[in-house]
Amino acid sequence: MPTVRKIWKFVSSMRFAIILLAALAAACSVASLVTQGQDYAWYAQRYSDRTAALILALGLDDAFHSGWFILINGFLCLNLLLCSVSRLPRLIERTRAEADPKAALRGEGGVRAEGVADPKAAFARLRMGKPVETATEDGRRALFASKNRIGLWGAWVCHVGILLLIAGFSLGQATQKQYAVYGAPGQAKAIGDTGYVLAIDDFRIALREDDTVEQYTADITVTGPDGRSEGAEISVNNPAALFGMKFYQNSTGWAATVRVAEGGEPLQEAILCAGEYLRVADKPDLVIDFNAFYPDYVQSAGSMPATATGQLNNPAYLYSVYYLEQMIGMNVLMEGEKLTIDDYTVTFSEPQPYTLIQIKADRFTGLALLGGLITTLGLLLAFYVQPAKAWAVQEADGRWTLRGESRKGGALFREAFLRAAGAEKDKS
């Protein structure tokens, strides 16, 4: 056999499929043992310098996007594609042959029972449906029935589904865009570089009687570059699709209104989420950083600030102040307290939850879902729609020789067949 043909045969073979599946299983299990996405220092501290170097050299720090992982999957797709293409003609031929009485009568395969009095009743016992009347080549009466031929397609449908699934997933990974926007009600922010603006109209936290969170809900409005806008209510497990992007209520934190006054006169006011900072309007080198918020502040000597509950019983704000990039102070400010820096006074007030909204655009999610559903359908066909056929030939004594075949049914089909044939043997 020429080398090219040999390679083609191997690449489209089931043996190669098994090797690839084994490689994929091994790759996934090894990768799951290594915490993903860390850097050299992290691995070196966790394991050893040598192991860390090995992890990075093998790409195990980001195994599921590494060259070798993609290579295995690429070969798997090639394997599935070639196998699906090359098996298609044979599959069509087999589906045709499965319903062909002549082919069955000519063949020698299958289980066999002789001396059957009433073959039609045996067919009924096997739930083979109504047999067709036909004749052997030498002119004897014959009956034939086949069922569940569509089941022959199970494996093929499953394989095509897997191909679509991998295609949808890979295309999605390669092209998807993700953004995150957070803010308190009343704020509007740009969604990355898309040109769209996300306004948070309202944000609610529903609590149960025991103070655990039942649901987070945000009302949002998205406005496009052309001024058109669409609104939606989103909550955890209930995202909304607007302008081809999907919006997810992801998490929450605290925001507060920060007011700066100069010489007693209001200078500026802004809503800051914990973690954000503000530059003083007429003195940009002076920066107020809102580090953290404690809704129910407790301070025990020497320990870090903490909150006793999630309730707004004793709000406190941790801030730090920078001037010319140098920290000049850090402390906790209670509600109503004033921070004084030279001529400026700063207050924190009106604490409110802000929402973190995740935005995702993946045009291939539908393809992956379709692939998953087709895979499932293929498995259903392969496992639960088992093709079978049965045929009978009348012998000289008027009794019938019954034969049947079901490749998938194996020993179970043979047993059911012999039981059905046996039951129709003794009657006359």
Partner: protein, 271 residues
């Protein structure tokens, strides 16, 4: 309701234990009557177990499928369901004798978990999650049965032929097909589990597959059983090799179930 569940759970555990002893007695004494009693007892235990799960569901006001205790007791229930189905469908009582200790082990594991009913965080309040976990229970139950069948297959190979063996344990070929049936049931339901899990993750977290260790290990399990299906149709690999493979598959199932939560980090670790 939760009190009733507690009582029922204890009774169910005792019944499963008694059924296991009866099954052993059947094998030791080789008496048909004992076998019938064992199956009847297991079926009774199963009905009470169902009642216990219903009580917990009503008591907690949701599907009882969200923490380690609930999943463990449901797993035992699923294994009991699938093994009873196979016992009746294939008239294969000895299967019960090998399944009973596994059911008892799993329900014993459940008994060691905290039974506290906790409110669900918002991400867990989803119908998709209900489908996700209930299909997982059937998948795990079916894989448990395929594991038991593999053990029977491998033991049968080592035992000398005897009347009892031939009467109560199907021949190699038939065992192989029954094992194939259990793996295919499991794989179909594992596929449902993964697909519904992906749909839920997409709605809850915005990403339907993120290579979290539990996801990765369910994929490994899926691949191992897919490999089993392919090996089985290759000449020379059916029978013994396939049985060993199906047993390895179940080790993957158990690792996905218990090992991942214990040894590896991930979003599923609250489950």
């Amino acid at each position: 309701m939760l009190q009733a569940e507690n009582t029922l759970f204890t009774i169910v555990m005792l019944i499963y234990f008694a059924a296991m002893i009866l099954y052993f007695a059947f094998i030791a004494a080789r008496r048909e009557g004992v076998a019938k009693a064992a199956v009847a007892l297991q079926a009774a235990g199963f009905l009470l177990h169902t009642a216990a799960l219903v009580c917990r569901g009503i008591g907690a006001g949701r599907l009882p499928l969200t923490n380690q205790y609930e999943f463990a007791t449901s797993f035992a229930w699923g294994l009991c369901l699938v093994s009873l189905a196979f016992i009746f469908r294939y008239k294969f009582t000895v299967l019960g004798a090998f399944a009973a200790p596994v059911v008892f082990l799993i329900i014993g594991y459940a008994a060691m978990q905290s039974k506290e009913v906790r409110e669900l965080m918002p991400a867990l309040r989803s119908n998709w999650l209900g489908f996700h976990v209930s299909t997982a229970i059937i998948a795990y139950g079916a894989f448990g049965v395929s594991f038991v069948l593999s053990v029977i297959f491998l033991l049968r190979d080592r035992m000398k032929a005897s009347g009892f063996l031939d009467q109560h344990i199907p021949d190699r070929e038939k065992l192989d097909v029954i094992s194939y049936r259990s793996v295919s049931l499991g794989l179909l339901f594992l596929t449902f589990t993964i697909v519904t899990g992906a749909i839920w993750a997409e709605r809850a977290w915005g990403s339907y597959w993120s290579w979290d260790p539990k996801e990765t290990w369910s994929l490994v399990t899926w691949i191992v059983y897919a490999a089993y299906l392919h090996l089985r149709i290759r000449r020379g690999w059916e029978g013994r090799a396939a049985a060993v493979f199906a047993a390895v598959g179940f080790l993957c199932v158990m690792f996905t179930y218990i090992g991942v939560n214990t040894f590896l980090p991930g979003v599923h670790s609250y489950a």
